[in-house]
Amino acid sequence: MDIKVNVRESEGDAYVVDLAGEIDVYTSPKVKDAITELIDQGHYNLVINLEKVRYIDSTGLGVLIGGLKRVREHGGSVNLVCTNPQIKKIFDITGLVKIFGIFDDEQSAMKALV
């Protein structure tokens, strides 16, 4: 019942945010802080890896949407790595599959950024 957030630099100007655990109303501020910090530092091409996320709620989706909006203002984008079927279903139901790039592995998410 916690979230682990790890931020690392990748190829080009891209950054990867690895999330592990559960993103809910309690833990999502921690995710938001990490994404906000990256954007404040001028990094607008992000891959957010949700492979180890077991649960996400609307607050977590809100954080991802907020991040996407901010990077788009700077011509950047957010691609997600997501393999968990239940989480994929949440992106389907909400129609967010249409606004995020969602990929099965980090490499594809990375390639699609640039």
Partner: protein, 143 residues
């Protein structure tokens, strides 16, 4: 994992009361999974119930700062599960909508209720001005 004997189970009623604070929503979520797994729900349906009930709690927390506790009531019957989520405050009056702390929060609230409506079979929502918001949701078991 789903005990077939659960099919024949007697109706049961479970009640949970948690503080209306973000850190306690996980307790409702895990209790929701535990209650649902006593019935004939699939793993996917259990996940749906967890999320819907957690969203209802989150909604109470965002609704008004006057809400102090959240009460969740599960009624398990042979055809499914009925869940009510009530915010409960001690203040003289619960404002019906909290002035949101920004666009993102309002958006999340809208998404939350949208998710509940997508994941549950029946949803009723009202706000009692003296007690707070109340969501009643039903999910049927596949027969």
């Amino acid at each position: 994992m789903n005990a077939p004997e659960a099919a024949a189970q007697a109706p049961g009623r479970v009640e949970l009361r948690i503080p209306a604070k973000a850190e306690w929503v996980a307790v409702a979520r895990l209790a929701a999974a535990a209650v649902a797994s006593r019935l004939r729900f699939s793993m996917d349906e259990i996940d749906d119930l967890k999320l819907a009930i957690a969203e209802a709690c989150t909604n109470c927390i965002h609704q008004s700062e006057a809400i102090e506790t959240i009460e969740i009531r599960w009624e398990a019957g042979p055809t499914g599960l009925r869940v009510s989520v009530n915010g409960d405050g001690r203040g003289p009056r619960i404002e019906s909508v909290k002035s949101g702390s920004g666009e993102e929060e309002a958006r999340a609230g809208g998404l939350g209720v949208f998710l509940i409506r997508s994941l549950m079979d029946e949803v009723e929502y009202d706000v009692d001005p003296h007690r707070g918001p109340r969501l009643v949701m039903v999910k049927h078991v596949q027969s």
